[in-house]
Symmetry: C2
Subunit: 387 residues, 2 copies
Amino acid sequence: MSTTPVIARTLADPDTPFAAVDVHRMLRNIERLAARADRLGVMLRPHVKTAKSLDVAALLHTGTPCPVTVSTLAEAEAFADGGYTDITYAVGVDPHKLPRVTALLRRGVTLRILLDSTEQATAVAEAARRAGVGIPTQIEIDCDGHRGGLRTDAPALTRIGRILHDAGCLDGVLTHAGESYFAYSAQEQRQAAKNERDAAVAAAERLRAAGLPVHTVSVGSTPTAHAAEDLTGVTELRAGNYVFFDLVMAGLGVCRIDDLALCVVVTVIGHRPEYGWIVTDGGWMAMSRDRGTSAQPQDQGYGLVADLDGTLIPGLVMSAASQEHGTLTARDGAVLPDLPVGTRLRILPNHACATAAQHHGYHVIDSSRPITTAPVVQAAWSRVSGW
Amino acid sequence: MSTTPVIARTLADPDTPFAAVDVHRMLRNIERLAARADRLGVMLRPHVKTAKSLDVAALLHTGTPCPVTVSTLAEAEAFADGGYTDITYAVGVDPHKLPRVTALLRRGVTLRILLDSTEQATAVAEAARRAGVGIPTQIEIDCDGHRGGLRTDAPALTRIGRILHDAGCLDGVLTHAGESYFAYSAQEQRQAAKNERDAAVAAAERLRAAGLPVHTVSVGSTPTAHAAEDLTGVTELRAGNYVFFDLVMAGLGVCRIDDLALCVVVTVIGHRPEYGWIVTDGGWMAMSRDRGTSAQPQDQGYGLVADLDGTLIPGLVMSAASQEHGTLTARDGAVLPDLPVGTRLRILPNHACATAAQHHGYHVIDSSRPITTAPVVQAAWSRVSGW
């Protein structure tokens, strides 16, 4: 199975379902956050876990590869192969994986890792001594009770810092405001960004007060990166979803629907007028089972529906999915449109990270170019997968 | 990216997360349904959409490849390459895909396709005439309002039958009792199986009464295949999920928890005692976002948890997931077990089809062999993916 799709002529050509990316929208999203980071005076370290694509990452910088964040060592290895030399692996490290970490460091890649326990710190210190390399390590800080990390006042913080420092492995602190995905107003998002910054800076100050040098103070999530007003004391900002955005981010007001750069192209394969259904060949295998908007004020089902040119069809929603079938229905009193068998549609996903992961790659179009028949495919980009 | 995992020595060796299959349980599941089909006097046509693996399929038969059902043309092509010559593609056909259908037929593969509209039937008839081959086609029948298909009394049924017959393309009828996934008692499942059989046979009889020969009368779903008591008039039975089973099927009583042949092996990477959480490196990327049991009387979260040898840990459930993090919590008053960083666990999934799709392949173990250190890996099996 090739991981790279063959380049098609237009979106009407490849067999459906397939993932498509609008490079015009994506570049707009990339430029928007890059400008914000500049204004805030912090380095941007994009998280490549959403697109998982060297082709997408190439548009994040000009010339020299930029610093990136990854969610798996498979991504780290693929990006190292692609010339990226400053990589943060932002999932608490399993000590079993340390040989792959030291192998990347020996190749000259500055691979920064993350942890939040003395057990992990001890394992990292031992691995660093055994390998004869420093392993730049960040201590995960919990700023909102979302997932992993230590609270800024946790007694273990300085203990872990000391273990790492003594082994030449202390790089800094990292936090992620995961709860900002449930912050529905601009004010709440600004507050989440402030809490995220405050927690990271407070943790760094505690370590410094204990005589432990802190280099990196890393914060970020797509909502807080777009809401932060002051990042004094922070050295870098992370965000990943923003390159594509999705309905969850639109529901939070972080982007508009027409910023969504990723869609899945599907074909109508049937009708059940007695139930008010249009049936497509794009089911959960193509969209993922992610229903992130089900927790939002406006549930968007498995996705909103646009025509092949990208124009939203009002009131039409993908309301159900089986493995290879999608069901479209009209809502809010909308009339079910007449879409014959063979009609191609775009489905805008709930969660770009999850939907993209169902595909080997992307067909790339550019919505800034005039559409004549169907959007012209500019390129085929592949994805990294696995662990 | 290789699609075939390297063979590891034991389940303690590969980096986590990864999918593992217990071949002993799988063979027991395969034999159970094969014996049922024998007793019912119907041919079994397993659906390979769950495992999507030629290695798994090789255990469905001895010697000659058996008839199979597929959910994508990519599966059809991979199975044709693997020597399978009797394949049903059980998703309503998009006319755009007919060139790939006729290409397989020209290779000597009996690829049966499915449809439920005169538009599709006309396209199939034209494609068959153009290609100079008969395209064996089944008419999809709706037995329970689940998805696609025609009701048995739909006027279009005989019209479609006539179009197909005139083009030498009428093979038969096919139905799928998808609503049986919500049938919680043995009695309801038997009733769903009876409805499924009755609908398929009634549709076949209507076509025959109109002078249209019906060869195949195909029914099936995992719950109804295990509940059917009489399949008179049916020629073949389809089921797919049963090779692995999962928590949804266990919740329906179709299997026991210890029939589940697929799991995901994860590692503990942290603890949040203040919240009662154990954090692992297996998130939704490894498990999928499928929460099928959320609609069942007993919600199993993202999965039940067993130790590396396969023994369930009472009261422990994977209750939350982010992309590369899983959160385990105790329920029903259970005490959170002491599982240090580095501990490996098995997570039993909600929905095997969705979880398996997150992985390139399977590490294969055999629970009938005595366990000394960690279960020994017998083989590495790859999966087909894409469309």
